[in-house]
């Protein structure tokens, strides 16, 4: 197998996620894009584990998944409560914390 394809796929996914975070307004989509970035990183971690022939990368991947799961719980709860009070899920509308 060639690791290059895996790494290229990982970079592609990360870029899609990053661009999504920057350009999309809907909080849910932004959130999903973050997940996409996390999983892109997971993919490269696992690839490197395979390359090096040890389990360090895979262990890191599990850590990322656990943190991501926790983050999803908190993040979705925040988005939900913002939507309940402001009737919108657009990140541009919640811009009160500024100069």
């Amino acid at each position: 197998m060639t690791p290059t394809y895996y790494l290229l796929l990982s970079a592609l996914l990360f870029t899609i996620g990053a661009v999504g975070v920057l350009v999309r307004r809907n909080a849910i989509v932004v959130f999903m894009c973050i997940e996409l970035m996390l999983n892109a990183v997971n993919l490269s971690l696992v690839t490197f584990a395979r390359l090096n022939g040890d389990l360090h990368g895979q262990v890191m991947g599990f850590f990322v998944m656990v943190v991501a799961a926790a983050e999803v719980v908190v993040g979705l709860a925040i988005i939900l409560s913002i939507f309940r009070t402001r009737r919108t899920a657009s990140v541009d509308d919640s811009n009160l914390l500024k100069y």
Binding site: V21, L22, D92, S94, N95, K98, Y99
Partner: protein
């Protein structure tokens, strides 16, 4: 020469009657404390307590004097250690008293004349009973401080007393509360004294820096090992201190203004004792000034003394205020003393001798002036007097004896002391001897001139006051136009005349007695008198002085004795008179020399502070505030812009890492 001064270094611890010498300071200090703290409750007996304390101190001083004379000459330098006063790191100052012939002489003068003037003040201030207690409290404070000044055994103790007399002088000049001229004069005296005090303080710092101590013992034994620069610097700084306190050129202008205080104060502080502190300082530092390296400093001392003695005489000729003429006379007589102590071993003893005789006759002259003003509704203008000898015979006789002593009438006290100074000045030899001796002789003639003018205008001639009233003072409570009181001169009460009589005895006999014993008595403290032989013999000098004084007095009789004196001061007068009336521009000099540069310096500093220091601080604050205001705008509240900046930051960091790794 230095062999003589080793004597001045070996001090013995005080024992016996001398071990209670702290009483000299404690008694008047206690009097001042009781009167100031006790307040109005002590009004009834305050003046008695104040006088009693000083008389007790005088009694003890007499005991101390006889205790000292019972010792052999070389044992007469005694130190009384009281307690460790300041002890910080290397600086250690003991609070101790130096009991030697020099300090005991001064103690006798201060407490003796002080006692007489306390008694005199009881009568002089009987119009102002409410405030009399405060007056006696300040007088006692002055006596305590002055005794500390002359008794201290280190320069720091001397400085303590030095500042103490400055404070007492300030309080007493401004004693007439609510009068602007008194407050102004007090402030002027205080400020001009500060200029001199800075010199004294710097001299003390320099002593500590070079010799590590300010005790007389240590300083005088080590001063000879210092560099010439240090010795001259200390000598000149001490002279600056002496100029401030003793009203010497260029700091003489405060002394005549100090006459705004009550007359007993003028007699005690501004004639007999405090203003002679500068002479004491230089005589006390004789081991320093006698060094061959200090030659230049001594020359400056002599020049200052000579300038001042002429200046005082010239201004004294033009003034019409009784006390101010006497004040300028004091300035010029202290000039004589400073000149004498500047002569070195040839003159120390004569400077002190003149100081003592001057203490007697000038205090007597001032008390006489006070007695006249007391009788004349506090009038000080001599043009409004005349013919007073009939009304106030006792004051007239005592005053005239003081007058004769001052102008150097043969065999009265001023004759002995001034004569010796002139002789010693001429004895310098060469041009220097002629210059300083000549100035001293000229001063003797001028002294006789202005004092005779005073004698004629106040005591002799026709009474000019008979048809006059004292200048009216507006009374805010009565609506009528102010009316002055007519003059009713009368003899003063016995509390005032008795001190004047005693001082007159001193003026007559003091010189003969003191000139016989004083030089030998002072030898352990300031060294032996160096015989001098000038171009003229001693007898010749004596005759010349008397002749010159007679010429001066005769000239005054011709000018003032034969024609009527105008009550109003003539304004169209020649330039010398105008200059003398303007204090020979002493105030202008001070203004130009000290006040203006001081103002400029302050203004420049304020400018630098406002524009420079404040500008820098405010500029930094404004710059930070402005840039923060702009940076703040980047906080838009949009998550995507934060995310973009995070991305950009991350890319930069990664790029930097890659650059480091692969470049």
């Amino acid at each position: 020469m230095t062999g003589t001064f080793n004597l001045a270094l070996d001090t013995q611890p005080a024992a016996g009657a001398a071990s209670a010498a702290w009483l000299l300071l404690a008694l008047p200090a206690l009097g001042a404390a009781v009167l100031l703290i006790g307040g109005r409750r002590t009004n009834k007996w305050g003046h008695l307590l104040g006088s009693g304390m000083v008389i007790a101190a005088f009694a003890y001083a007499v005991v101390l004097f006889f205790d000292t004379t019972s010792l052999a000459a070389e044992d007469r330098l005694r130190d009384l250690h009281l307690f460790d006063w300041i002890s910080v790191n290397q600086l250690s100052v003991d609070f101790g008293l130096r009991l030697d012939p020099l300090s005991i002489t001064f103690v006798l003068l201060i407490t003796g004349v002080g006692s007489l003037i306390h008694i005199y003040s009881i009568g002089y201030l009987d119009h102002e009973l409410e405030d009399r207690r405060r007056f006696f409290a300040y007088l006692n404070l002055f006596i305590a401080a002055m005794l500390l000044l002359v008794l201290g055994n280190s320069f720091v103790t001397l400085y303590f007393g030095w500042e103490g007399v400055g404070l007492a002088s300030y309080l007493l000049i401004g004693w007439y509360q609510g009068k602007d001229f008194a407050a102004t004069a007090a402030k002027k005296a205080f400020l001009m004294n500060r200029v001199g005090d800075v010199g004294l303080a710097l001299a003390i710092f320099l002593m500590f820096k070079t010799m590590g101590s300010t005790q007389y013992d240590v300083v005088f034994s080590e001063i000879g090992d210092q560099s010439t620069g240090t010795i001259v610097a200390i000598g000149l700084l001490l002279l600056l201190g002496a100029c401030g306190k003793s009203g010497q050129f260029p700091l003489q202008a405060w002394l005549p203004d100090a006459m705004a205080g009550p007359t007993p104060v003028s007699a005690l502080i501004h004639a007999a004792t405090m203003v002679t502190a500068g002479v004491y300082l230089i005589a006390r530092s004789s081991p320093l000034y006698s060094l061959p390296q200090a030659e230049d400093a001594r020359l400056v001392v002599m020049i200052i003394g000579a300038i001042t003695l002429l200046l005082g005489c010239i201004i004294g000729c033009a003034y019409d205020d009784f006390k101010k003429v006497l004040a300028y006379s004091t300035v010029s007589q202290i000039g004589y003393m400073i000149l004498a102590v500047g002569l070195g071993p040839a003159g120390y003893a004569f400077g002190i001798l003149h100081l003592l005789t001057h203490g007697f006759f000038k205090a007597g002259l001032f008390l006489g002036a006070g007695s006249v003003m007391h009788a004349m509704n506090d009038e000080g203008d001599i043009r409004r007097m005349g013919g007073l000898w009939k009304k106030m015979p006792v004051t007239f006789v005592t005053w005239t004896l003081g007058y004769l002593a001052l102008i150097g009438f043969p065999f009265l006290s001023g004759y002995f002391s001034k004569d010796e100074i002139i002789n010693a000045a001429l004895g310098q030899g060469g041009t220097r001897g002629w210059v300083f001796g000549g100035i001293a002789l000229l001063g003797a003639a001028l002294t006789a001139f202005y004092m005779t003018r005073l004698l004629i205008l106040v005591w002799l001639g026709k009474p000019r006051w008979e048809n006059l009233t004292s200048p009216a003072t507006p009374d805010p409570e009565s609506p009528e136009a102010p009316v002055g009181k007519p003059y009713h001169p009368h003899e003063s009460p016995s509390t005032m005349t008795i001190p004047m009589i005693i001082l007159a005895f001193g003026s007559v006999a003091g010189g003969a007695i003191l000139s016989a014993v004083l030089p030998e008595w002072l030898t352990p403290a300031i060294g032996e008198v160096e015989e001098t032989h000038g171009a003229l013999s001693h007898t010749m000098v004596g005759i010349l002085t008397v002749v010159l004084a007679a010429i001066g007095a005769g000239l005054a009789f011709l000018l003032f004795g034969r024609r009527e004196t105008a009550v109003e001061r003539p304004e169209r007068v020649s330039f010398p008179v105008r200059a003398a009336r303007a204090d020979l521009f002493g105030n202008h000099l001070n203004e130009a020399l000290f006040a203006r540069p001081g103002t400029w310096l302050t203004r420049a500093l304020v400018y630098v502070d406002n524009r420079g220091v404040d500008g820098l601080v405010n500029g930094i604050a404004a710059g930070l505030g402005g840039s923060s205001g702009r940076l703040r705008r980047t906080q838009t509240g949009f998550v995507r812009s934060y995310a973009l900046s995070m991305l950009g930051g991350s890319i930069l960091v990664i790029a930097a890492l890659l650059m480091v790794r692969f470049a």
